[in-house]
Structures are given as C-alpha cells and as structure tokens.
C-alpha cells in the first residue's frame, strides 16, 4: 500500500489523464496515486475517468487553481 505522487503542474489536457492512467496501471490494488494538477479541465476528466473505472476518488483544492486528485486503486 504505497502512495505515489505524480507532478502534472503546468501540463494541459489530456497529458495529466494519460500520465495518470499509465501510472495507475503500474500500481497494486490498494495503492494511492496523487495527481497534482493546475489545469481545470483535468479536474473534470481525471475524476470522471477514475470514478467510471470504479476507483475511489477525492479532489482536494490545495491552493487557488491547484488541485490534488487522489485515486485509490480498487481493482
């Protein structure tokens, strides 16, 4: 059960989504991936994809215009 931070600051869609998808594939069930983003479109498509895929998702606004999308791999 590890926690991996993926820095996607400054990256526009769909880069954060693709990076997150690739990273999550490497992780084990129960691991947590924290994707740091500052493009609001990723704030929509990242949680949408992760929820649809059945993972646990939480979005935290860490600063004005900066978010952490926290994804726990469930399968």
């Amino acid at each position: 059960m590890k926690e991996v931070v993926l820095d996607c600051f400054g990256e526009a869609c769909p880069v954060p989504l693709v990076k997150a998808q690739n990273k999550l594939a490497e992780l084990e069930v129960g691991d947590v991936l924290i994707v740091q983003i500052d493009h609001s479109c990723a704030m929509k498509n990242l949680p949408e994809w992760a929820t649809k895929d059945g993972h646990n998702v939480e979005v935290e606004e860490v600063d004005d215009g900066e978010w952490e999308v926290i994804i726990e791999k469930t399968k």
Binding site: M1, G30, V32, K44, P47, T51, N56, V57, E58, V59, E60, E61, I70, E72
Partner: protein
C-alpha cells in the same frame, strides 16, 4: 488492508453541493458553525448543466447555471465553509453523533444536511448520453420552454408531468409530438389533462411507442421511436426532446435510516428536519412540489438556520437544562398564555424556598418547542423535576404544593 481513516469533527456536514447545499453552507458558515460540504462531482449540482437561467431572481442577463453556483460557492468559502470533493461511502445518522464516511475520512458531525438532489430517469435509447441537457434532451419545461418558440419538440411519456408540461410547451412550440407507450387513447395522466391534450390542435401523439435512438450532428435532430407491437422504427425530426418519465432521488445512502416516501424522496417538516433529530434534508431530494434553484436556496436557508438552532439547543439542553449536579425544576410554558405567565412568580417562590439546592430553568415554548420536544412534552404548561440529569417527575398541573412535594421527594 483498510487504510486508517482520518477522523474529523464538524458542527455541520452537508452532503451535496448544489444550490440547496451551498445555500445551507452560507447560513451555517455565517452562524460561525464549523461546516464541511461534500460533493461527489461538480460543485453547483444539476444547475451547472443549464446554459441559461432566466428565472432566478437577481440575474436578468440569463447567465449559465455555473456562473450562479460559482458565486454561491465563493460566498460559502468566504464564510468559512470547507469543501471536500469526493463521494460519501456510508453514513450512520441514527446516533447523537452523526457519522459520514468517505474513502479516506470519517467525519463526526452534530448535524447533517442532506442535499443530494436527484437525477432524471432517462429512456436508455441509443446515443442518449450524447444529447443530454443542453444538446437537445431536456427534463424541465419550466426551464427550457421559452427557448423552443416556434419549434417542433418531442415529449416522451404520458404521466401528469409529461402531459401538463407538454401542454405548457404548446404555448411556445409550433408542434408537440408526444410518444406514448400505451394503446391509442390510453395515458397515465389524469382525465382532465388527457382530454385537454387530445383536443389541443398543436399536440400529436405516437401511440404504442418508446424511444429507440437519438440522432443528430452535435445537437439533436431526430428521435427514432419504435412501435412496441410491430417493432417498426419511426424517425421524428425535431428541435428538442423533453423526457418526463420520472425522477430518481439520490437517497440510496440513507435507506433504512431516514424515512423515505414510496417514491424514495425524503419527507421533511417545516424546518426541513427528517425523522431523525439533527438530520435535515433540502432541495430536490425532498418530497416537494417545485424543484427550482429559487426553492432550493430557500430550503437551504431554512435548514442552515434550523441546524444552528438545533446545535444551540443541544448545548443548552445538555449543559444547563439536564445538569447532573443538583435536582432540577424545568418550567415549560407558553408566554402568550396569561395563567402560565402569572405562575412564573410561583416558580420563583419555589426557587427561593430551596435556594442553591435546586436548579430552576424556565423555557418559553412560544418561539420554539425544540427543548420541549427533547423532553417529550407536548402539552403546556408543564413542570418537570430532574434528578442526576434524568427526568424524575412530569406534572401538568400548576399546583405549588404538589410541585414542592415532588421536589422534596427527589432531594
């Protein structure tokens, strides 16, 4: 392998970040209550799916739904409301402490406000999801009728909502085609609506039909209906389609704890409280007559204020009224009743007689029966004697002697 959840305490946890939840947060935040709002998708709720909102007072320029809800969010944030963007996994609302769990946190709250809204039931037709909300499929005639002036619209369904909203649409649209599942002349709506609809020259009906598919470049252009008896496909060209086949409230999380109507809505009282003390419900998830942003924010104001009163009453109740140190006398009276008012001087005499041995509380029930409700007293005036923080005797007669004897009996 479950991860240890972080436990956090709040005065108020609001589940759902639509206009109702945001409005409740604005009120509880302003009352300086520690408030958390949990939203599983987008703050703003269903309102964010609307491109023009023309009937919310104060916004004459028909802004996007998101514009209004973003302002509400900003206002709530300014007042100290914290936001958590994740789904609620489970709740336990039955105890004094309300527990709300997400996948990483366990929140313990004094009150919970349910503002989870609902979702329109959809037909399940092919490619339906491509045209939902602002791309041709609508669920609200009150919202979108005016945008359909001189257009051809298709209405799905034949219940009261479908037919009444369909008739409303004929005031704007040039033609309203209604897809009805049943045989010719049979509808699910009431007879008056049915007869009015059948004689309305702008209304046409396609009997024995359900939706097969939705088609169009970008925006909806055609609804393909299917005859349920012959399987014949019937393409109907149109500008927009309205689906009125029911609404599903998001109450799955609360089943078995909060009382629901047979349609799964939450019934509430005039303070928006559910069957559980300290648990409120507001907006589209409640059993209400009109689902609009304007009514949702009104609900939020009521529940936010009621939550604040509930917490204040809880504190007074536990620390003052149900104090454990001494024998207590609680006088519950209605200040507009003269006899009850005059008896206050008798209460004072009894108080003086026992001095510091007795703790006396006078509770005026005129404005709020909250404390009386907690004491399970329904008729006034009433006198309650407590011992070690528990009700020992309840008297409904204003008799000095009887009350004095009762107090002595518990000393």
């Amino acid at each position: 392998m479950a991860r240890e959840k972080t436990v956090e305490h709040y005065d108020v946890v609001i589940i759902g970040g639509g206009p109702a939840g945001l409005s409740a947060g604005i009120y509880t935040g302003r009352a300086r209550l520690k408030t958390l709002l949990i939203e599983k998708a987008l703050v703003g709720g269903l309102a964010t799916y609307t491109n023009e909102i023309a009937n919310y007072p104060g916004f004459p320029d028909e802004p996007k739904g998101e514009t209004i809800t973003n302002l509400m969010k900003q206002q709530a944030k300014n007042l100290g409301v914290e936001f958590k963007l994740t789904a609620v996994k489970s709740v336990d609302l039955t105890g004094e402490e309300k527990i709300v769990e997400t996948f990483r946190n366990k929140y313990i709250a004094k009150t919970v406000i349910i503002a989870t809204g609902g979702r329109p039931r959809v037909t399940g037709g092919i490619d339906e999801e491509n045209y939902l909300f602002d791309k041709g499929i609508s669920f609200c005639a009150t919202c979108d009728a005016a945008a359909n002036t001189d257009k051809h619209v298709v209405v799905i369904g034949s219940g009261d909502a479908a037919i009444e909203e369909g008739m409303f649409l004929t005031k704007f649209a040039s033609k309203v085609t209604v897809s009805v599942m049943h045989d010719e002349g049979i509808m699910d709506c009431n007879e008056i609506a049915k007869n009015a609809a059948l004689s309305n020259p702008k209304m046409a009906f396609v009997w024995n039909s359900v939706v097969h598919a939705f088609e169009g470049e970008e925006h909806l252009e055609r609804v393909v209906l299917k005859n349920v008896k012959t399987d014949e496909l019937i393409p109907v060209s149109c500008d927009n389609c309205f689906e009125f086949i029911g609404y599903i409230p998001n109450t799955e999380l609360f089943e078995g704890q909060v009382t629901l109507t047979n349609r799964k809505y939450i019934p509430v009282d005039d303070k928006k409280q559910t069957n559980i003390d300290g648990v409120f419900a507001i907006g589209d998830v409640t059993d209400k007559w009109l689902k609009q942003i304007a009514t949702a924010v009104g609900d939020g104001a009521i529940a936010g204020t009621a939550a604040e009163k509930y917490i204040a009453e809880s504190e007074i109740f536990e620390e003052k009224i149900m104090q454990k140190e001494k024998v207590g006398l609680i006088y519950l009276y209605n200040a507009i009743d003269q006899d009850s008012r005059e008896f206050l001087s008798h209460v004072e005499k009894i108080e003086n007689q026992f001095g510091s041995e007795l703790v006396v509380n006078r509770v005026d029930v005129y404005k709020s029966t909250g404390i009386a409700d907690r004491l399970k007293v329904e008729s006034f005036p009433a006198v309650i004697i407590t011992k070690e923080g528990k009700i020992a005797t309840t008297l409904y007669e204003l008799n000095d002697m009887q009350i004095t004897e009762a107090v002595k009996g518990h000393m």
